[in-house]
């Protein structure tokens, strides 16, 4: 295993969508060697094609990645960027069999109106009562909410159905949602807030009941949900990073360490796979993460944290507690001069002290690093 103080001048980009391609391009433009691993379709029970990660050994600056489905079974890289992207899923609203109420995504709806624009259809569209249903069964991400309202604008430019937008938690701080809601309201779209909602499908249409109103609609427009790709759980388990409660890959607290850094120093998440933002913001996120990675790889050495844990190897009883406790993957069993003991890799340590608290023989202490480092440097 290479000494993590010297950086392996290569970055691994995991994923195969827009974000991954952007990351690869930036790395190459920055003069870094890149290893691409799609890790597509891996969910533990086969169905994966192309290269995927089996496991990641080592620490920042000197990861040793075990691969499957690739030419090389082991690759050494200095940093890993996970850019799996996200995927669209139909929201869980389905009319019962035999109901004639169309249920469409906003994009499909706008497209249909555009295509159906012959005289008689224009009239027919004017007589429709369209229910745009947001935040059901769970909150619609801003990206697809904005998409829905843009579709509303496209439709009302071409035809004049009655449009009711039902929402529970529509936040308008980004994605131009403030402008979209204002303009559509001004154009006659009715916004209905609800806490509880019931949909009853019949041959006449769909009856939408909330605390405040009851309406009959004949077309239901439901934006897609955005979910993390199927391979997220598998990848997280194999790389030692975390999945949040929402199913997306998790940064550490962004306020303190900086966007993109996961619990495992040197492994970053970029773009859609951890961020629900508009396309511009997501691209900027990839740029920012790659900026840090390139700076790290160019730096030639991994900076030390402010303080890190150190094992007194003579006292170590090799119970493996610290290795199992460490949430950052910074501890390994190492043999040095014929003594095998737990060893904390300083560059990968976060100084949290959990290993110190758990060691049954009190063989670990926190020591200040020789040089102080900016927290944002890695």
């Amino acid at each position: 295993m290479s000494d993590p103080r010297l950086i392996e001048p290569r970055v691994m980009v995991v994923g195969q969508g827009e974000d991954a391609l952007r990351a690869v391009a930036l790395a190459e433009a920055g003069g870094c060697a890149v290893v691409r691993v799609p890790h597509a379709g891996a969910n533990g029970d086969g169905g994966a094609s192309g290269a995927r990660i089996e496991g990641v050994d080592g620490c920042v600056g000197g990861f040793s990645v075990r691969l499957a489905g690739a030419d090389e079974t082991r690759v050494g890289v200095g940093a890993i960027v996970v850019a799996l992207g996200n995927r669209r899923m139909p929201a869980g609203v389905a009319p019962p069999k035999g109901s004639h109420v169309p249920v469409m995504t906003p994009v499909a709806w706008a497209e249909k109106v555009r295509r159906d624009l012959r005289e008689e259809y224009r009239v027919a569209w004017a007589r429709r009562r369209v229910v745009v249903l947001l935040d059901h069964p769970s909150d619609t991400p801003k990206e697809t909410s904005a998409e829905a309202l843009r579709a509303v604008q496209d439709v009302i430019a071409l035809a004049h159905p009655e449009i009711y937008v039902y929402y529970r938690n529509l936040q308008v701080d980004t994605h131009q949602l403030e402008r979209l809601t204002r303009e559509t309201r001004e154009a006659g779209v009715v916004y209905c807030r609800y806490d509880q909602i019931e949909l009853a499908f019949s041959k006449d249409g769909v009856t939408v009941t909330t605390e405040e109103s009851q309406r009959l609609g004949d077309l239901l427009v439901v934006p897609e949900a955005i979910e993390s790709p199927a391979e997220t759980g598998d990848l997280a388990a194999r790389t030692g990073i975390r999945v949040g409660a929402d199913g997306f890959l998790q940064d550490v607290n962004m306020r303190h360490v900086g966007a993109g850094q996961t619990v495992r120093r040197g492994i970053y998440v970029a773009g859609r796979c951890h961020l629900d933002a508009d396309a511009e913001t997501q691209a900027a996120d990839v740029d920012r993460v790659m900026g840090r990675v390139i700076a790290l790889l160019e730096g030639g050495a991994v900076p030390l944290p402010e303080q890190y844990a150190e094992v007194t190897s003579e006292e170590c009883i090799r119970c493996l507690t610290c290795i199992r406790t460490c949430p950052h993957g910074a501890i390994e069993l190492r043999t040095s001069e014929e003594v095998t003991a737990a060893h904390v890799v300083p560059e990968a340590c976060w100084g949290c002290g959990m290993c110190v608290a758990n060691c049954p023989v009190r063989a670990i202490t926190l020591v200040p690093a020789a040089e102080l480092v900016e927290q944002e440097a890695v």
Binding site: P327, W350, C352, A357
Partner: protein
């Protein structure tokens, strides 16, 4: 609730990112913990263990408050959960040796909650009724 303020020795053990950061901000505003409170900083909630809490009581504390980041905010992911559980285990130990469980309290906070921290310290008194417990 008694009107007299409890000024018996209190040790506040807190992680540097939550309570530590909050105290720094309070200091900028010219505010501080009362003099009967001793502040003990740890890097993370996960650093806190039974020994640290017991040693605080041994050193003369009559009350100990343990503070960490809120669930989901810990940079090391599980530090708050560890702090919560270690505190609960220590409370059981304390009760077994005759020290009332209410004397050990666990709270979570963000760095902008300095005013809350000062309030909690002031409100850290013996419960009026026996049934008031601490999670």
């Amino acid at each position: 609730m008694s009107d007299a303020r409890d000024t018996s020795p209190l040790v506040l053990i807190g992680c540097q990112r939550s309570a530590g950061a909050a105290l720094a901000r309070l200091a900028d505003e010219g505010r501080a913990l009362p003099s009967h409170v001793r502040w003990q900083s740890v890097p993370c909630g996960g650093t806190i263990d039974e020994l640290m809490i017991l040693e605080a009581f041994e050193s003369g504390a009559e009350r100990v408050m343990v503070v960490s980041c809120a669930a989901g905010a810990c940079n090391s992911v599980v530090g708050d959960e560890r702090a919560r559980r270690r505190t609960a285990a220590t409370r059981e130990l304390l009760e077994a040796i005759g020290i009332e469980g209410w004397r050990l309290r666990y709270e979570t906070m963000a760095p902008n909650m300095g005013a809350d921290l000062l309030r909690w310290v002031d409100a850290f008194v013996a419960p009026v009724e026996e049934s008031v417990g601490e999670a």
